[in-house]
Symmetry: C2
Subunit: 788 residues, 2 copies
C-alpha cells in the first residue's frame, strides 16, 4: 500500500495527464482514461489497438450468458451467469507509415502524452514517433463519448509527417470478436468469453460501414456503425469495405512534412432484445447522421456545456492537498460517467470501464453510488431506481423460489436474474434489499418527488418490506430476529441478527408503512392493508439489535464478539487480501472484518447507536479487527472516523478511497474503475468532514470539521429543488443557497434559515481530544502527506 | 414411504429371492444382488449384460480424477475430485440361441428367478426363455466373489435346450469402457466418466484372455484376466481372442434337448499405482491359476466355510418379524461384504455395490460401519483405521493448508485427498476427525489390542487432538469454544459449539492424553510432552456445551433453539427431501433437522446428558423437527427411542433402517446399498433394544428391552478376545460366553461375572410409561407390522 511510485499521472487540478507512456501500466491507464456516458463505454485503448492490456468497448446491459458450474449443486443455485462482453470495437484506427505499422513497441517514441480533461470530457493523445525506417510522424487524437447523444462517440485523428514525405494508410475500423487476453485465475477477475458475437448483417457505403451481430446464447442484437470526415491533400483515396466481423475505411495519401491528414470518425451503437435487425440498423444510422450533422466541434461544445452544468453543482474544492483535489474531481467524473445516461439500466460496479466483476451491479450501487448521484445528478439516481422497479417481477419470482414473500433482488446481475455462484456471500446477503429501500428513501427525501414516491418508491418499499417480514420471525420473547444472513462484511457469513441488516430492515419496514399511508389507493392496489402495515411496524419495533454488555460494544452479529480474534500478529504482510491465503471457513468464524459492517451501520443509521461515546467505542473496537481487504471499506471508515472526531485518520482513509485508481491501491484497476469507492470519497468529505445528514425528517443537517492538513473544503449539492454550497475552513462554515427557495438547515445542532439573499456563516466548535484508534499491524491507512 | 408394494423380493430367513424379473427395479436388484469382498465388487447385472440400469464392476480405490468446477472459487477448494470407475467387466457372458441373442426383452420369459444366498455367498439365477423363433432354453448361473481369494470371482454358467436341438454360441468376455447410462441431475448421484480406461496391453491364450489398462488422469494400472473350464458335448469349439478393450472366449456347440453346456469362468483382478505392467499381469494370472486350481467347488466350499464362521458370531435372530429377520441378515451380509477384504483401503458409503457418492468414504464409515465391524469382524475394523493412519500425511498437510495443527481428514475421499466441492457441508464438518478418534477408542476397548493402541491409535488420537486444540479457543470466561463448524445434521451449517462436535472433541482430547500416558516413549516420538497433554485436558475440561435453560433442552448448537421452527404444516408431502425444494440458506437458519445430530450426540456420549429425563426431553424436542431426509438418521432415532423407553417407536425406525434397500425407502438403492444405514440396523438392535454400552472404563453393559411385537432377539459379538451371545425375551435376558475367558458384564446396572460354564439369566425390569414423541406431519416412520 505505498502510493506515489505507482502513479503514472501528474498532479493538476482539472486534468489527468500521463506525460509519458508506461506499457507496464497500460491496464491501469486504459481504465482511468475510459470514456463513458453510462450507455456506451470505451476503454482508454490506444487508437491503433495494440499494445493493450484489455481491449474494451461496452454497451450497458449487453451481455452473454455462460454456465455457472458447481462441484456439488443445490436447489436455487443459478444455472447461468451473465458477462458483459467486449462489443464491436469502433475506436480502432490503424496507421501505416510508408511500409511500417505505427506501433509504439517498435521504432522510437520521442514523445507521448495523454490527457483526460475533466471539463471537456475528452481524452487527447499527442505522440511523436519515428518508424524503424526513420520516418518521423506526429499523431494527435481526441476522443469523446457524448454525454448529450448517448449512442455516439467520436474521434478526431490527425497525422503529420515531421521530417520527410511519407505515404500514409489510415485504416479506421469496426472489429467484432476482438482477440481477448486470458485473465489470471483470480476470483475477482471476470470470466472471458471468446468470440461471443455471431454475424447478422454488414454493409459499407462511401465513407463508413455498419456491422450487426447477435450474441449466441443471450440472443441480444447489436449494431455498430461508423462514418468519417476526411481532410487531407488532393489525391487522397477513401475506400470502404465490410465483411462479417470487420468494417474498414481506408484512407491513403502522400503527405509532405507539415501537411496534415485529419480524420473525424463518428460512431454510433445500439442494441436490443426485441427490435428487428432493420430497425436497429436504422437506429444507429440515424444516431450517426445526427452526430455527423452536429459535427466534431458541435459534439465537443455540447460536451463542455453539459460538464459545465455538472461541475457547477458537483465540484468539490480542496485547498491544501492538490493530489486529493485532482483525485476527487477525477472520482466524480467517473461516477458521473458511469451513470448519467444509463437510463433505467443498471450501473455496474466498474461502470463501463472494464470487465471486472463481469460487468455486474451489486448493492454498492445503491449504498455508495446513489448516495452521491442523489445529490449531484438526481435524475440518474431516479433512473437507477426505476431500473430496480423494472426488475421487480424477477425479484418477486426469486423470492418465491426461495420460499419468501415480496422481492429478493439479485446479489449480482445485469439483467435482473441472480448471477451469484456462491450463495453464502450472494443470495444470503439479503441486505441488498434494504439497501435499495434505503436509496429509495434517500432519493425521495432529497428530490421531494411525490410522483416517484407513489409510482416507484412505494412498490419497491412494499415488496422489500414483505421480504423482511417473511425472512424474520418473532422469538419466544417477542423480539424480531433475522437469522442466517450475511451482512456487508464478506469475512463473515450466515450469522443471526447482523446489526447492519436488522437496522436497515427496520428502516425498510417503517418506510414502507409510512409511504403506504401517504398513498393509500396505490398501496391498496398492491394489496397492502392496515393489518400488513401493522405487521411491518410491529416487526420494526421489535427488531433485535444485539449488544455485548461485557465489552460495551455492538457485536456485528449475534455472538460475533465471542469468536476468536484473528491472529494478526502472525500474519505475513504479503498475506493480504486474506481470502487469497485462508479458507472462508476460518475467516467466517473469527473476528476479522474485510469491510466496514457495524461501522457502516453506524454511518447509515446513527440514531440507533445512542451517544457519540458509544459510536466511538464501537469504531475503535472494529478498527482493531478491520483489514480493509475490500475497496468498499475506506470511505466508510473515513466518514465514521470524522464523525467520531478522528479527523486525521479520516483524512488518511479519504486519501485511500479517492486515490484507489490513480494510485492503483487495490492492484486491479486494470479491470476497471472502483466506482463505489470513488463515490465514497465524496461521501467521506460531505458526510464525514461536512457531517452532512439528511435525517428521516427530511431535514438537512451539517456538523463540519476539517482535518489539520486542509485549509478549506467546499462542496455543492442538490436538495429538494435547491442548489446549495457549503464551504468549510478550520474555524467556520459558510452556507450558500445558489438556486431555489429558502431552506432550513442545521449546523452542529443549531437550526437556521438559509435564503438566496446572503450566505450564512457559523463557527465550528472545537473537538474533544480523542485517542487515535489502532488498526491491525500493517493495516493502518497510508499516512496522507498533503501536496503532490 | 410405503413399503411392501415396492419390494421385488420374497421373505425368507437366509435368502433374498426375486421370484420374477422386474425390469423397472433392475437398478435396485443390481445393488441388492451385488457381490463383493471389499476389494472387488460386481453389481448384480444379468450375465448377458443387457438390459441393465447401471453396469458395475469395481475395484476398491481404483478411481479416475475429474476437475471440480466452481462458479466462484476460493482458497483451499479442492481442484480435483475422484470417482470410482466401472472397471473392465468380466461377468459378461452373452448367449446366442441359433441366430438370436438371449435377451429377456425379446421372446418369452417363462420363468426367471434370482437368489442371493446369505450363507453360501452366491447369487444364483435360473431362467427359462423361449427365443422369438420358438427355441426354449434353460439358463442357470451361479456367481461368487471370493471371500478367501480376494482377487477372484467365478461364475458357473449352464445352458440346456428344452424342446429342440439348438446351435449355441456362448461369448464369455472382458469388456473395458462399457457404455454407461447418463445419470439424472441429482446431487446425490455420482458423476459419470465415459471411457476412463486407456489400453496398455492385452493377450489371449487357449481358454482365456487378459486386458491391462491405465486411467488417463490418475494413472492407475489395472489388469483383468479370465480363464474357463468348458464342459459340453463332443465337437464343441473354443476360441479366444483379445483386442484393446475386449477379451472374448467363444464356445460353440450343438445341443440336443436335455444336454448341457457348462462353462466355469474364473476371473482375477488387480490394480496398482506402482507395480509394472508385467508384475501386474503376472499377479492376476497367478490369482487366476490359484482360482482355477481351487476349482468352482473348492471356491464354493471356502466361501461357505468363511460365512459359517462369520454367521456363528454375527447372526441376529429375530422371532416375531420374518421380514425384519431377513432384512437384518441381508444388512449384515452387505456390511461384511463391503469391508472384509478391503485391507487398509477405505470402505465406501455404498461399499462396492454402485457408483453412488462417487465411491467416496465419509464419516459414516467410522460412526456407523465400524461400530458394527468392531464387534463382528474386528480385523476389518482395525484395517479400516490403519487406512486412516496411512493417509495421515495428507490429513496433516490439509490441516496446515487450513491454518490448523494436527490432522484434518477429508470429508469425502478415495485416496485421502479432500474431494468435497461444497465446503460448508464438507471441510467445515470437522467432526469427522473426532469420529475417527471415537472409532479408534472403540476398537481399542473392544479388541484390547495394545500393539494397535501404540502403533496406530496413539498417532491418530494425537493428531486429531492437535486439530481440536487449534480449532477451538478459550473465550473470556475460560470456556473452550469451537466456532463455525458443521455438525452431522446437513440442514445446519457453520454453527458455534455444535454439541455433538464439542462432546466428540472432548473425548478425542481426553483419549489422546490418556493413551499418550500409557505409551510415553511413542508419544514423545510424536513430539507430545506433558504441556501439550495438559492443554488437551484443559480444553476438554473447559469444553462449552450450550444448554437452553428456558426450554430445558440442549440446543443442537449455540442459538439453535432461538431459530424459527420450520413450517412443517405447509410443506407438501412431495417436498421431501427438503433440500430438493428449498435452498440451503433457508434450511440452515431454521429448526429443521435432516439427520440425528443432538440425538446422535446422546447415543455416542450419553454420560454428558445427565439423567434419562433430560435425554427424553431432548429426544422428544428433536423428534418434532427431524425430517429424516438422510438414510443416516433412522438407526440413531431407533437406538435413542429405545434408550429413552419408546420401544415401539424404536421398532418402527428399525424397520426403516434395516429395510432401506430391500424396500428402496430412499428411492436411490439403484446407486448402491446404504452400507451405514444397514450397519445402523445392528446398532439399533444391540445398542437400542440390547442397551449395549461399551463404557469408557472398558466395561460392557446391557440394558435390554424388547418392543411388544418381538418375542425374542438374540445377537452375538466379539469382546476383548471373547465371543458373547445375548438373547432377549420380553421378560428376561440370557447371556452366554461362547469363547474366551470369564468376563464381567452389567445388566441394567447390576454387574455380574459370566463364564463359559453356564449362561446367566436376568429379569428385565418394567419400563415407566412414556408419551410417544411426535414427528413432523407425514414424517413419522412407517408403522411396522410384523410378519411379511
Amino acid at each position: 500500500m505505498s502510493a506515489p511510485s505507482r502513479r503514472p499521472f501528474t498532479v493538476e487540478p482539472w486534468t489527468v495527464r500521463e506525460p509519458e507512456l508506461d506499457l507496464e501500466r497500460l491496464g491501469q491507464t486504459e481504465s482511468v482514461f475510459a470514456l463513458s456516458n453510462g450507455h456506451l463505454g470505451l476503454r482508454g485503448n490506444l487508437d491503433e489497438g495494440e499494445p493493450n492490456a484489455i481491449p474494451g468497448t461496452y454497451l450497458n446491459s449487453y451481455y452473454e450468458l455462460r454456465p455457472l458450474p458447481y462441484a456439488e449443486g443445490g436447489y436455487g443455485y443459478p444455472e447461468s451467469g451473465q458477462t458483459m462482453i467486449n462489443v464491436t470495437n469502433g475506436k480502432l484506427i490503424r496507421l501505416m507509415v510508408d511500409d511500417e505499422p505505427f506501433d509504439l513497441r517498435y521504432g522510437e517514441l520521442r514523445r507521448h502524452e495523454r490527457v483526460l480533461d475533466l471539463r471537456s470530457g475528452t481524452l487527447t493523445r499527442d505522440a511523436e514517433w519515428v518508424s524503424p525506417a526513420g520516418k518521423a510522424v506526429r499523431v494527435r487524437s481526441e476522443r469523446l463519448v457524448s454525454l448529450t447523444q448517448r449512442a455516439v462517440a467520436a474521434i478526431d485523428y490527425r497525422v503529420t509527417p515531421l521530417d520527410a514525405p511519407v505515404l500514409l494508410v489510415v485504416q479506421s475500423e469496426l472489429v467484432a470478436n476482438e482477440q481477448q487476453p486470458r485473465f489470471v485465475d483470480d476470483p475477482r477477475a471476470s470470466a472471458v468469453l471468446a468470440a461471443p458475437l455471431a454475424h447478422e448483417r454488414h454493409h459499407a457505403d462511401a465513407t463508413g460501414a455498419t456491422l450487426l451481430h447477435r450474441t449466441k446464447r443471450s440472443h441480444l442484437v447489436m449494431a455498430a456503425s461508423m462514418d468519417h470526415e476526411v481532410h487531407g491533400p488532393a489525391g487522397l483515396s477513401v475506400q470502404c469495405t465490410a465483411t462479417e466481423h470487420l468494417g474498414r475505411t481506408s484512407v491513403i495519401c502522400r503527405l509532405e512534412p507539415g501537411q496534415e491528414l485529419r480524420l473525424v470518425k463518428y460512431l454510433a451503437y445500439g442494441w436490443s432484445s426485441q427490435r428487428s435487425l432493420s430497425a436497429l440498423d436504422d437506429q444507429v444510422r440515424a444516431a450517426l447522421s445526427a452526430a455527423h450533422y452536429t459535427g466534431w466541434d458541435g459534439l465537443s461544445a455540447e460536451q463542455r456545456t453539459y460538464l459545465d452544468e455538472f461541475w457547477s453543482c458537483a465540484d468539490v474544492e480542496i485547498d491544501g492537498d492538490a493530489e486529493l483535489q485532482q483525485a476527487v474531481r477525477c472520482a466524480l467524473f467517473h461516477v458521473m460517467q458511469a451513470a448519467v445516461r444509463a437510463e433505467r439500466r443498471p450501473i455496474p460496479a466498474k461502470g463501463l470501464t472494464g470487465p471486472g466483476y463481469d460487468g455486474h451491479t451489486f448493492w454498492d450501487t445503491e449504498t455508495f453510488v446513489l448516495a452521491v448521484l442523489t445529490y449531484l445528478v438526481p435524475d440518474a439516481a431516479g433512473d437507477a431506481l426505476r431500473w430496480r422497479q423494472s426488475i421487480l417481477p424477477l425479484a418477486v419470482e426469486r423470492a418465491a423460489q426461495l420460499g419468501l414473500h415480496g422481492a429478493a433482488f439479485p446479489w449480482r446481475t445485469i439483467s435482473g436474474l441472480e448471477c451469484s455462484g456462491y450463495w453464502p456471500a450472494g443470495t444470503a446477503a439479503f441486505h441488498i434489499n434494504a439497501d435499495i429501500a434505503d436509496a429509495v428513501v434517500r432519493y425521495v427525501a432529497a428530490a421531494a418527488d411525490t410522483v416517484f414516491e407513489r409510482d416507484v418508491a412505494l412498490e419497491l418499499l412494499v415488496e422489500t418490506a414483505r421480504l423482511w417480514r417473511s425472512l424474520g420471525h418473532h422469538d419466544a420473547e417477542g423480539e424480531f430476529r433475522i437469522d442466517g444472513v450475511t451482512g456487508p462484511d464478506e469475512y463473515s457469513a450466515l450469522a443471526d441478527n447482523n446489526v447492519y441488516t436488522n437496522l436497515m430492515a427496520r428502516q425498510n419496514l417503517r418506510a414502507a408503512a409510512e409511504v403506504a399511508v401517504r398513498h393509500p389507493r396505490t398501496a391498496a392496489g398492491l394489496g397492502v392493508d392496515s393489518e400488513e402495515m401493522a405487521s411491518w411496524r410491529d416487526a420494526a419495533a421489535a427488531m433485535r439489535i444485539p449488544y455485548d454488555e461485557k465489552l460495551s460494544v455492538h457485536p456485528q452479529a449475534e455472538g460475533f464478539t465471542d469468536h476468536a480474534v484473528w491472529d494478526f500478529e502472525d500474519e505475513p504482510p504479503g498475506h493480504y487480501p486474506l481470502m487469497l491465503h485462508h479458507p472462508y471457513f476460518d475467516l467466517y468464524r473469527k473476528q476479522v472484518v474485510k469491510q466496514a459492517d457495524l461501522v457502516l451501520a453506524m454511518q447509515m443509521r446513527p440514531e440507533a447507536f445512542g451517544d457519540l461515546e458509544q459510536m466511538d467505542r464501537n469504531f475503535a473496537y472494529y478498527e482493531r479487527i478491520t483489514v480493509r481487504d475490500s475497496s468498499l471499506s475506506a470511505a466508510t471508515q473515513s466518514a465514521m472516523a470524522a464523525r467520531t472526531g478522528h479527523l486525521d485518520l479520516a483524512y488518511d482513509y479519504l486519501g485511500e478511497t479517492a486515490l484507489i485508481d490513480l494510485d492503483d491501491f487495490a492492484g486491479n484497476t486494470d479491470h476497471g474503475m472502483h466506482i463505489a469507492s470513488l463515490a465514497g470519497a465524496w461521501s467521506a468529505i460531505v458526510a464525514g468532514f461536512g457531517g452532512m445528514r439528511a435525517g428521516p425528517d427530511d431535514r438537512l443537517a451539517f456538523a463540519p470539521h476539517l482535518p489539520t492538513a486542509l485549509a478549506r473544503v467546499s462542496f455543492g449539492m442538490h436538495w429538494r429543488g435547491r442548489h446549495l454550497r457549503v464551504a468549510i475552513t478550520p474555524d467556520e462554515a459558510e452556507y450558500r443557497l445558489l438556486r431555489g427557495e429558502q431552506v432550513r438547515l442545521a449546523h452542529h445542532g443549531e437550526e437556521f434559515e438559509l435564503s438566496g439573499a446572503e450566505p450564512q456563516r457559523r463557527p465550528i466548535p472545537p473537538l474533544p481530544p480523542r485517542e487515535r484508534p489502532e488498526q491491525p499491524p500493517g493495516r493502518a491507512p497510508v499516512p496522507r502527506r498533503p501536496g503532490g
